[in-house]
Symmetry: C2
Subunit: 346 residues, 2 copies
């Protein structure tokens, strides 16, 4: 398998995408990897695998790499004597946050007919925004915590009891997230969240709630990871999450009974299918009194949650053979022809 890893992007999570991409070098043993980087100015660069070190990006050294132009069917190196395509079988979208998770990259890959592993446009738009994730869950009959939505220019009136957790609706990796225990903290938490986003979502913060993560995909069949009980402090700050994105060794399965495990896996499948076909996602759940609640969908999880799978590389190979196809639309100009005939102009 020739695999292109797309990473970087104009995103608050740009740096952790670099870390995720570097991790992929260790994770893939058989694949022939290409690395395509999107810098802060949204210029594409082809990065030689041996240059995949974090300081190559932070130092700006990447700017000497070959620039790429995205065209129908290919990323191309443009030269004086024509253009040369970067060759790969499938592209793995590894851009966390904006550009990668919001649906832009999915849109562009679909428009330019490049085979890609990632949530598609609609799946991205719904899962990137935590408010829309609530709509989606509701429509699927999946439980979520109650919530309140506030807008930057709207009223700041809380209608639930403390403690609460305040989150920008469109970000991952805990950026801009604050736990609030009283009125004094609320204004500050909202100011922080509104630095990053025009909209926030507020949910009850439940001390000590059980949290479980399930990753998976559908290839020719379901391929689900172990269920992980993430090790957590009050909650992970960005720097700790950042380190987390470089994980490449397997973790232990959560110690839960078969009934709860089935419930978690069934809920994952309900969310995944068919909206997320073509993607490997991670869903984070809360469990209270035996009931499973969707906390968030990670449409492009850190280092692709590779550490939760037995055979991550095999899954990527099988998925690349079973990607959803865009519907074919044939354009035949029947209406224009018939109108021209009617006008006697045919």
């Amino acid at each position: 398998m020739k695999l292109a890893i797309l990473f970087g992007g104009s995103s608050f999570e740009h740096e952790i995408s670099i870390v995720s991409a570097i991790t992929m070098k260790k994770v893939f043993k058989r694949a022939e990897l290409s690395f395509i980087f999107i810098d802060a100015e949204r210029q594409f660069y082809l990065i030689e695998p041996e240059k995949m070190k974090s300081n190559f990006f932070s130092s700006g050294g990447y700017k000497k790499s070959k620039k790429l132009v995205l065209k129908n069917g290919a990323f191309s190196i443009e030269g004086l004597f024509g253009s040369k395509a970067v060759l790969f079988d499938v592209l793995l979208n590894l851009i966390h946050g904006r550009d990668g998770e919001d649906g832009k990259i999915a849109s562009m890959m679909e428009f330019y007919a490049i085979p890609f592993i990632s949530p598609r446009l609609e799946a991205s738009a719904l899962s990137y925004n935590k408010l829309y994730t609530k709509f989606l869950a509701q429509s699927l009959g999946v439980k979520t915590l109650t919530y309140q939505h506030l807008s930057k220019n709207g009223e700041r009136k809380l209608v639930m009891e403390y403690p609460v957790i305040v989150k920008p609706v469109r970000l991952g990796s805990s950026i801009g997230v604050t736990i609030v225990k009283n009125d004094e903290g609320l204004d500050y938490a909202l100011d922080v969240a509104f630095e990053f986003d025009t909209d926030v979502i507020i949910e009850p913060f439940i001390e000590g709630v059980k949290e479980y993560n399930q990753a998976g995909t559908y290839t020719r069949e379901w391929e689900l990871s172990i269920v992980e009980e993430p090790h957590k402090e009050e909650f992970l700050d960005f720097e700790k999450k950042y380190m987390d994105f470089s994980r490449d060794s397997q973790v232990l399965a959560a110690d839960i009974d078969g009934q709860l495990e089935s419930k978690i896996k069934d809920t994952f499948k309900k969310i995944y299918d068919p909206l997320f076909r073509g993607a490997i996602i991670r869903c984070d759940f809360f469990v209270r009194e035996g009931e499973v609640y969707l906390n968030e969908i990670n449409p492009i999880p850190g280092s692709m949650a590779n550490y939760l799978f037995d055979d991550f590389e095999g899954i990527v190979e099988r998925l690349s053979q079973n990607l959803p196809n865009e519907q074919k639309i044939s354009i035949k100009y029947d209406y224009i022809h018939s109108i021209q005939s009617a006008k006697g102009k045919a």
Copy 2:
């Protein structure tokens, strides 16, 4: 104002987008227009204004036009001696259906920093899909008709009374839409709709229900059109709608009282703001017993609903001066620097 009209696209509504674009030539009196066409293979072409006739496209004559490549900040003509940008102040996305209304074009314009008039990514994803439009309306407290959602591979069990209307969730211009009066008709209607889409929505069909359309935008202030009562037969078939897309003369305002008019305008504003900033949209409403129900959002209405406005060109000019800005994200590599310091590698 230098205005680029983007039209065509890989869409079932490709042909009516051509008709809409040709209509724009008559509608704009002051603007300097460029025309950028996307063909069925998703190749961009720069079309000379005098070539804007329907048979130039249906005959394939457009293929001799200059090809364009989309890059950061511009559509460019690539030549032996470098590239030359097509110059314009703002681009009007006039692609109906897939590519234009689903969020792909919005994604690409935002990614490549091209100023554009169109619903943005999230607004597109939610309004292109009639099921998601229901979620959106519900979250805004806007009434819609009850509905049922069926998937191509799911059970075909109707839980509402006839007559009903069956619609593919992702298409406009009445394509694949059927009114069904009994069980015999249902299977056929579903077969037709599933030709076009994996998902359908079924709603009660209400004979003789009052229908009103409201178009509008927000520039520095609200700029709303007259309320139109569309002239309709049972409902418009594609060919009639097609003709409708070439309208360029104003219509009469619906004969309704001030209270209903306010209700319609207020509902429009609730839907529009802030999600649709940057776009000129048309909302189609039903009115029953004085209550306003959202029927559909037309994120890129036929010929931009220009015929509903007094001063359409002025609105486009003002909107182009008041487009929403993408949030700036500055990437400073703070985390990579701090981790490198910690490792002693800085």
